[in-house]
Symmetry: C2
Subunit: 147 residues, 2 copies
Amino acid sequence: MPHEVEQRSLARYLEEHNLKHTRQREAILEVFLSARGHITSEDLYQQVRARHPHIGYTTVYRTMKLLCEAGLAHESNFDGTTRYEIAHEHHDHLVCVRCGKIVEFECDLIEDAQERIAKQYGFRILRHRHELYGHCPECQKRVRTRG
Amino acid sequence: MPHEVEQRSLARYLEEHNLKHTRQREAILEVFLSARGHITSEDLYQQVRARHPHIGYTTVYRTMKLLCEAGLAHESNFDGTTRYEIAHEHHDHLVCVRCGKIVEFECDLIEDAQERIAKQYGFRILRHRHELYGHCPECQKRVRTRG
DNA sequence: GGGCAAAATGAATCTGATTTTCAGTTTCAA
DNA sequence: TTGAAACTGAAAATCAGATTCATTTTGCCC
């Protein structure tokens, strides 16, 4: 089984919450983990369908919610449609508005500054989103040569 | 005319782009500028309708897009529905996930850090979004006393 | 190795925000 | 004044996301 650790992690979550372990959930997790980058539930559905034609969109959709709750996936939303990425260390995103490329970054300095700001306003922060939109190096070149 | 500067700014934008100056656009800008905070196009439509029953939702919707292009309004999206705010100095947002309160903040330190990160990855930044989600002071109290 | 309740599935439907269509109206430059 | 271009607004289309519900599976009991 290619992603044993995650499969076990899902199994534990299901057990702890009296949810059922189904072929569909296992299959969807498997395909999700094999997919690269920030994927929409629609795209993921297409990939799942290629290997498991019997699995419906609704199940993919609901399973991704489940994987988020289980801490195996993260939801993000750049352009109005929800995307999922494999959960790992916290990070933020650089998004190229021309080609759609998404690069992850981390910055402790910013994290600290956020804490200070939250304290200043008396907020208790649960999560945040921080996205920088612009042109990636390749697209800058392309823009220049084209005009 | 209550918001002469903005009305003139809109007029200039329309002229420069060969667009037409209509009562509707003037009226919508006026109501928008008088409204407080981060308003949805639906809310704005309700307010516009109170004073100008003949103006339709579509026109409000389209005019807000226009005002954004003209630099008089800014679009933001916290909870899946688009909100508009009056354009002014750049700032980011603290959002209370319980009561929906939105507080604006600015932080030069973070702006600088963003620049550094962009340079590191070769990106040219056009805009960004930075939102901190959590509980405002009032809601923290309420949560504590209730359980 | 049934029997069964709870949970899951998936096709279809609903929702709610946004966007487009299109016929009729208004603006504005000549 | 006139006509082309732009605008308006009711209605319809779109689109992602969420829900419904009849049917099937799973996990657990005996």
